[in-house]
Symmetry: C2
Subunit: 124 residues, 2 copies
DNA sequence: CCGTATCCCTAACGATACTG
DNA sequence: CAGTATCGTTAGGGATACGG
């Protein structure tokens, strides 16, 4: 106990589960797209490489349940649905951008690390 | 195209996969622990709530392969192994802290959102 | 257009036992 | 101590078909 002024972020199981639900494979991309502007379901589907209907629906429901996005039903015919980032979701925007930017910037080094790792495994 | 000075972070599949591998259930916690100081295998195991040997091993291998951590074998008897954050991993430290901090700060609002969502589903 | 329902398959995980 | 190996279960994901 020397100089830990701020409380150590000992994650509770609840928090771990929550982060797990908003940092998964598709969520980051959905949040990223919705940070730009609201989108319709099929619009999102097209914007995200190869997500299936099922996975996208599941991701949207999960994000909505966790308060990260809002689902707005527009009562036209046929029905239209718009998804948009929530106030809570917006507070994560900078972090997401930073994360995606970090991944882009360091992908090269990651590739090299993978090469080294796989080589060592191969010769052993 | 108004003021987007930085390139839009259109994630490649490769980058998405990479982020997926270092933001998963256990990785965040492992990285967090190793940012504090190097740790031994069983030390990590105890430090992280309920991870199993198998999952911890898999997580460590994945992080090592992606260049985020380093595995140092100390040739004592019985063998000791120390894991520590890599230079690349360190560049993510602030982001991880921010992420964990954000989760802590907003957990309350998340709980409320869940309550609302589950209520609506229940009465429907 | 926006989903839900179904089938199927595989990747992940926990539990347990065993090795250098 | 630090793993690997195996087994059985289960959650996630893709493909497809159908409904409001």
């Amino acid at each position: 106990m020397t100089d830990t002024a701020i409380a150590p972020p000992q994650l509770t199981g609840e928090q771990r589960e929550f982060l797990d639900q908003i940092l998964d494979k598709w969520s980051l991309q959905v949040l990223d797209k919705l940070c730009e502007r609201p989108r319709r379901f099929n619009e999102l589907r097209r914007a995200i490489p190869v997500v299936t209907q099922k996975s996208l629906t599941a991701t949207l429901r999960r994000l909505e349940r966790n308060g990260m996005i809002e689902r707005v039903v527009i009562g036209t015919r046929p029905v239209a649905v718009e998804y948009r980032i929530s106030a809570l979701g917006e507070t994560l925007q900078d972090l997401i951008d930073a994360l995606l930017g970090w991944a882009s910037s360091n992908m090269d080094e990651v590739r090299q690390a993978r090469g080294r790792f796989d080589d060592e495994a191969g010769e052993a």
